[in-house]
């Protein structure tokens, strides 16, 4: 996961060209518990960094997922509809949420790298 970037809201971002794939971290899925439902953003929606744009629901509670960077939603992981548990079993892989065409790629620099994120999680444990 060394080329991923991380937000303080526990999302990860993987950049490929100007398209960012976004999901939630292993730490986040563990804290949430078993995911039973996910609401994904509409294709084409413009989102700003820090904007709530997806919802993940565990047995116990609903939590927002925020856009770590600004962009336009170009793809969503509709396979999560039938298998939301993928978010628990493979959060950094098949459990991705949506893809953004970044409109301000410089925002990526504001995010944490792997080691900074792990420090952040430990400090906030």
């Amino acid at each position: 996961m060394s080329d991923l970037k991380f937000s303080k809201d526990h999302e990860w971002v993987a950049m490929e060209g100007d398209v960012a794939t976004i999901g939630i971290t292993d730490h986040a899925q563990q804290a949430l518990g078993d995911v039973v439902f996910v609401e994904l953003p509409e294709l084409g929606r413009m989102v700003k960094a820090g904007e709530a744009c997806a919802v993940v629901e565990s047995v116990k509670a609903a939590s927002d997922v925020y856009a770590p960077i600004s962009g336009r939603v170009v793809e969503v992981n509709s396979a999560l509809g039938d298998n939301p548990g993928t978010i628990n079993s493979d959060p950094a892989g098949e459990g991705w949420f949506f893809k953004l065409e970044a409109t301000a790629p410089a925002e990526l620099a504001e995010l944490m790298d792997d080691s900074a994120y792990h420090r952040f999680v430990e400090e906030n444990a």
Binding site: A31, G33, D34, V36, F37, E39, V55, E57, V59, P84
Partner: protein, 369 residues
């Protein structure tokens, strides 16, 4: 995300919960395990398939002693307490003078005393209210030095009966004083999951060893508060503070069955006037089960509308039922919308979610009747 659990009370099993990997959260002033490493979903399904062990020591336990204890308690509840046969237990409500619900609780007749189990969040208020109403010769003894464990699930009886064969002969809502693994216990065959099982009151100083004994039985796994909530909601059981409170009446809450027949002729309990009026004329709203279509849950405080129309109520408890394999809720709706199968819309994050009124329990209960 991490909330401080300092300054919270501990049950006698606090150290054991941590040893088992329990994630401790504040609940009713106590540090309680919301889940163990198995997780809410797994713990829920395990309880329905085998047996789950719950620590419910935060709940209030007390005994009421004295010749007229039952009559004294009837001054505060519409339940038939005087008619409760020895070694039987009953679900009951404490009502307010205005006809709301002060708390819900269990009362058992142990022959020489009544044994009460009340909600953790209400125990101080309940006991004060009961004490204030007692006549001379009836005494309330709080039992803070007792822990309470629940062993629930289809495997509960087979797991524990080898330790105390008398447990197998009990029926749903029977109570007994039984020595289990050397520990003198007050046992009821009841629970809060919809499953067969037992609630077992033990001396606090014996609780940890006793819990370890039960956890070592075949098929028994620890279950936290998270699964306790999803299990009780599937079973259609109310949570005080969510589904019932001082503003809801027993009639609105569809808990009229907990009112004794004799009490419905005497009308001598707190709030009887409101209950009598509502039974005669109906209520504005009723507690019902609600099933959202699809898989999206609707949580407590979600507004309930008629499809495309006005608000007719609110969800009081809602979530995802692991055994139901779908979302479920309960809440209050206007009487005109309370019939089973009535279409509704739930306003979740500003968008309407189609739902229907549904019979409860959502998952059939399996009590040992």
């Amino acid at each position: 995300m991490a909330e401080s659990t300092e300054s919270l009370f501990e049950t006698p099993l606090g150290a054991l919960h941590r040893e088992l990997g329990g994630r401790m959260v504040p609940f009713a002033g106590y540090a309680m395990p919301v889940q163990y490493p198995l997780g809410i979903l797994g713990e829920h399904l395990h309880c329905r398939a085998a047996a789950g062990l719950f620590d419910v020591s935060h709940m209030g336990q007390a005994e009421l002693v004295g010749e007229n204890a039952a009559t004294a308690l009837e001054a505060l509840t519409p339940a038939d307490v005087a008619g409760l046969k020895p070694m039987r237990q009953r679900y009951a409500l404490l009502t307010t003078d205005a006809g709301g619900i002060f708390d819900d609780f269990m009362v058992a007749n142990f022959g020489n005393r009544l044994f009460l189990v009340v909600n953790a969040s209400r125990k101080h208020e309940d006991f004060a209210r009961i004490e204030a109403a007692l006549p001379a010769g009836v005494k309330l003894n709080r039992l803070p030095d007792r822990a309470l464990l629940a062993l629930q699930g289809p495997g509960a009886v087979a797991a524990i009966a080898p330790l105390a064969p008398a447990l197998a002969a009990m029926k749903f809502m029977d109570v007994a004083e039984v020595t289990i693994a050397g520990v003198p216990c007050f046992v009821s065959r009841s629970g809060y999951t919809g499953e067969d099982g037992y609630e077992i009151s033990v001396p606090a100083d014996a609780a940890e060893a006793f819990a370890r004994t039960l956890l070592a039985l075949p098929g028994v796994a620890p279950v936290g508060l998270g699964a306790r909530d999803s299990l009780r909601l599937e079973a259609g059981l109310c949570l005080y503070g969510n589904d019932i409170d001082e503003t809801t009446s027993p009639v609105e809450a569809a808990l009229v069955w907990s009112i004794g027949k004799r009490r419905r002729m005497e009308w001598n309990f707190p709030g009887a006037e409101r209950v009598r009026d509502e039974l005669a004329n109906g209520t504005q709203r009723l507690r019902v089960g609600i099933r959202p279509e699809g898989r999206q849950p609707a949580r407590g405080h979600t507004a309930v509308h008629v499809p495309g129309g006005e608000a007719v109520g609110e969800i009081t408890s809602g979530g995802f039922g692991p055994s139901l394999n779908g979302p479920m809720a309960m809440g209050y709706v206007a009487r005109a919308q309370a019939a089973d199968n009535t279409p509704l819309e739930l306003m979740v994050r500003g968008k309407p979610l189609a739902a229907r009124v549904a019979a409860m329990p959502f998952v059939a209960n399996r009590y040992a009747r």
